[in-house]
């Protein structure tokens, strides 16, 4: 029988998580997927880029091993084998995709392979076959949008352009690379290729990189990356691109930057092909509008992940998927977007949750900002990673922590403590009184919390 309680279109981190949760709650579930399970995150995004980053960091660490007391490393002999790196990435991705297949089997989620076309909210057609469902979850994700730059098409044909999704199509590590735009993906690629030994120039339109990230953190990162060799060009307008390079205008002056490759990570737009039969309400840039239960304007139709344009982040998609599955199964559940962590995988990493100082002030909150530098932390020193800090923003009335920003190696893991405390509406008093293990970089939490109340211990 082709009747389901829930059909999910799209098997990315939103769709597949939602499917498993819905099945666990008792729904009969099918997932329609046209490509690989795991979506952008697993196939091109989070996991593959982190595999690359691991190799890149290791490479850099080996080159710098002397400082840590290791002799005998010949920098000229150490090299990154691009193809072996890709093999390793393939293996990891395959393993994870098989893992999802296994989880589907275990939870009796059916996988329908092919492109799903919605006939009406209860009817989906895949490869000419009709499937019926009581609830529909749209998890089709988003795709890249390319900027309009004169000559881009011709350069594409000459294989000079890499779009962020296709970075793995590179045959080798480019000698030089120009990265276009100043968003988190651009900055991550700039860091990555810099670690791998490329000459990197990052050209962006704003006055600073990462305009939505905590200002001091973004600035410190820019400074650090500059020190490591990345060139930054700000306030740029992209004019044209040809064999001689990319032409930009900066403060009225034209400049040309030539490189082996040009990497573009511009913007995204929702994948809404196949959904035309539904009269879905759409917001800015065509993203599907949803309420806090992830429901669209149509009863029984939900939209999760990149397609709703809220936060193009895998962990948000998964959380939204769980919320949708719970609501379908009669559990009251809603999304809270005020505590979504954001990670930027550079060296050091940036991790944020909640409000920045500027945003809190804009909201008219009465706040205290407490900052503590990594340079005063023993573990950070022993690891040779003292660039960075933690900033805790707390509201004065009850001391509630409303924002945490960490710049540090391992910030990706460290931020979870802040997310947990904030999820529980915890205060700086709770954080200060939490006994943190020594020696860890996470001790900076306690220091910043005491800083907000009175004074940090180690300063």
């Amino acid at each position: 029988m082709n009747n389901y309680d829930v059909i999910i279109i799209g098997g990315g981190p939103g769709g597949y998580v939602s499917a498993i949760k819905a099945a666990q709650l008792g729904s009969k579930v099918a997932v329609v997927e046209d490509g690989n399970l795991g979506g952008v995150c697993l196939n091109w995004g989070c996991i593959p880029t982190k595999t690359m980053l691991t190799t890149a960091k290791l490479y850099k660490d080996i080159l710098g091993a002397k400082e840590f007391g290791i002799e005998g490393i010949d920098g000229d002999k150490v090299d990154v084998d691009w193809n072996k790196l890709l093999d390793r990435k393939e293996k990891i991705v395959d393993k994870l995709i098989n893992g999802i297949r296994m989880l589907f089997k275990k939870n009796k989620v059916e996988l329908i392979e092919g492109f799903g076309t919605v006939k009406d909210k209860e009817t989906i057609e895949v490869n000419g076959k009709i499937y019926k469902t009581k609830n529909l979850i749209i998890a089709t994700g988003a795709k890249e949008v390319y900027p309009e730059i004169e000559g881009l098409k011709q350069m594409e044909e000459k294989e000079k352009i890499i779009y962020s999704k296709l970075a793995f199509d590179l045959k080798e590590i480019p000698e030089s690379i120009v990265i276009i735009a100043g968003n988190q993906y651009s900055v991550e690629f700039a860091n990555l290729f810099n670690l791998l030994g490329s000459n990197v120039v990052l050209i962006h339109q704003e006055d600073r990189i990462l305009p939505y990230v905590e200002k001091e953190m973004a600035k410190t990162l820019e400074r650090q990356l500059k020190k490591e060799g990345v060139k930054f060009v700000s306030d740029a307008t992209f004019k044209s691109i040809n064999e001689d390079g990319i032409v930009i205008e900066q403060k009225g002056k034209e400049k040309t930057f030539k490189a082996d490759k040009y990497l573009i990570s511009w913007d995204i737009k929702p994948n809404i092909k196949g959904l035309e039969a539904l009269n879905l309400k759409k917001g800015k840039n065509g993203f599907i509008e949803t309420d806090e239960t992830m429901k669209t304007n149509i009863d029984g139709v939900y939209a999760i992940g990149d397609v709703n344009g809220k936060y193009p982040l895998a962990h948000v998609a998964s959380a939204e998927g769980i919320v949708a599955a719970e609501n379908i199964n009669g559990k009251k559940s809603k999304m809270d977007y005020t505590k979504v962590p954001l990670l930027i995988y550079t060296s050091p990493e940036l991790a944020s949750v909640g409000l920045t100082e500027e945003a809190a002030k804009e909201k008219g909150l009465d706040i205290t900002v407490s900052k503590f530098p990594l340079a005063a932390n023993g573990k950070a020193m022993s690891e040779g990673d003292t660039v960075g800090f933690i900033k805790v923003i707390s509201e004065n009335k009850y001391g509630e922590i409303v924002g945490t920003h960490i710049m540090s190696n391992n910030a990706d893991n460290m931020i979870s403590s802040a997310v947990s405390i904030m999820q529980l509406e915890g205060t700086v008093y709770d954080m200060a009184k939490t006994i943190l293990p020594h020696p860890t970089t996470s001790e900076v939490f306690m220091e910043a919390a005491f800083g907000a109340i009175d004074k940090p211990i180690h300063m």
Partner: protein, 461 residues
């Protein structure tokens, strides 16, 4: 076994008493029927006999202190030793609930108890833990222990900020429904509880008085009913509501009405002076906005006219906001849209709002919220006709002002001349349970003072 004896309902609507004297001592062996305590209530002084035989373990409360119905005041050991489990129960009850006190700080607990009741009527979402649970002197102690456990399990899971906020706002966090994971009380829930507390207390007052009147079918002559002499038309929803509200008011509130006539000649002159100017601005300046202003001045002075009676808690609930309902005749029936915070609005603003509300009432375009939250109502039946009437109070409000048709009458002035006066007949109905006749007359006097001389109205309102 440990047995907690709660101050029983001694009847005659008595909810509390003062401890005059303990008639037993701690450690004393007593028999069922022995007098435990002498208590003075507002009607009598009475001895309370023990429902059980056993040994007195604890006497809670000192002589001169107030105890409430439902409070544990004596703990007995009956049929053997108190088990550790039982002791645990009691200490939990002392710490977590408010109807029994820990010996160490019993005085504090007594205070706290009173606080809780105050909070309830102050419109705070909280639970009054009295009266429903006390057991008659002969019952088993099991019941009280069970309810203690139930309360214990209600200890709320809450976030640190939610706890701090609840403490600040004087909310009982255990009574707030949590919407966080696992029912955790989040700060948003506290905010919501705070916002709704005012409304809730009003709802509660509305809910309390149950009208125990059975509806009987109307008996008609069956034979003639078939001949087209009668026509049966089902009530519309709005008519059903009106019928129910009227019954609720009339059967709950002992109405009384005071009537008078007010000479509004001067007010009429004043009104006419500005009427045409304001008409150009699109304002229809009737008498009503002036009367609303005068009424607010009167109810500010005589707060009971802007109050409700909480029968269950036996408390007056005074409202510190002034939302004036305007009884409006519509095709579908009587509607009472509300002018919110009328005390903060000018006469012109009120005039505009009256037109807006009454127009939309007639077009059936009012929002439900615009019909709720009134604290005092004015009905202008005179606009259609009629001199005096007996308006029915818009329950749970405490008073309603009826306005008759203004007519010219011969008046004897201060120089004993007969002059023509424009006379406004008014009828003020009020809840005679909480408003005495003298207050009714005082209210009318204030209205007269302000409406006879418009300058006075502007000086005082």
């Amino acid at each position: 076994m440990r047995f907690e004896f709660k101050f029983p309902d001694v009847g005659e609507g008595i909810h509390e008493g003062t401890i005059v004297k303990w008639l037993v001592e701690k450690g004393e062996e007593i028999k069922e029927g022995d007098s435990l305590i002498e208590v003075e209530t507002d009607k009598v002084t009475t001895d309370i006999p023990s429902p059980k035989s056993g040994k007195v373990l604890e006497l809670l409360g000192d002589e001169g202190e107030i105890i409430h119905v439902g409070n544990v005041f004596v703990v007995l050991d009956i049929e053997g030793e108190a088990s550790s489990e039982d002791v645990e129960n009691l200490s939990a009850a002392g710490g977590g609930t408010k109807d029994s006190f820990d010996e160490a700080d019993k005085e504090k607990k007594l205070d706290e108890k009173e606080e809780v009741i105050e909070e309830e009527t102050a419109g705070v979402v909280g639970e009054v833990v009295v009266s429903s649970e006390e057991i008659p002197p002969s019952d088993e102690g099991v019941i009280s222990r069970k309810s203690t456990e139930e309360k214990l399990s209600k200890k709320a899971l809450a976030t640190p900020v939610a706890r701090a906020m609840a403490k600040d706002l004087g909310l009982d966090i255990n009574s707030v429904e949590g919407t966080g994971p696992g029912g955790r009380v989040m700060k948003e829930d506290i905010q919501k509880a705070k916002d709704s507390s005012k409304e809730k207390s009003q709802e509660k007052i509305q809910e309390k008085p149950e009208i125990k009147r059975e509806a009987k079918p109307l008996q008609l002559d069956e034979a003639s009913e078939g001949e087209g002499l009668y026509e049966r038309v089902p009530l519309t929803r709005i008519r059903k509501t009106i019928a129910q509200k009227m019954s609720e008011s009339k059967f709950t509130i002992p109405h009384t009405t005071v009537m008078d006539e007010i000479n509004v000649t001067e007010l009429d002159k004043f009104r006419k002076k500005y009427k045409d100017i304001l008409r150009e601005e699109g304002v229809n300046l009737t008498y009503l906005p002036f009367i609303i202003k005068a009424s607010i001045t009167a109810i500010k002075e005589l707060r009971e006219f802007n109050s409700s009676l909480d029968e269950v808690n036996e408390e007056m609930v005074y409202k510190n906001f002034y939302n004036i309902g305007i009884a409006t005749d519509t095709q579908r029936g009587l509607m009472v849209p509300v002018i919110r915070d009328a005390d903060k609005k000018s006469i012109v603003e009120i005039a505009k709002e009256i037109v807006d509300l009454s127009t939309r009432a007639k077009d059936n375009k009012l929002e439900l919220s615009e019909l709720q939250g009134g604290t005092f109502t004015i009905t202008n039946y005179g606009s259609i006709g009629g001199h005096f009437g007996i308006p029915i109070i818009n329950h749970p409000e405490s008073a309603i002002l009826g306005l008759g048709r203004i007519i010219k009458k011969p008046i004897v002035d201060e120089n004993d001349n007969i002059v023509v006066g424009k006379m406004l007949p008014i009828s003020l109905s009020y809840d005679h349970r909480i408003i005495d006749g003298a207050s009714g007359s005082r209210f009318v006097n204030i209205l007269k003072e302000l409406l006879i001389d418009p300058d006075m109205l502007f000086l005082k309102s």
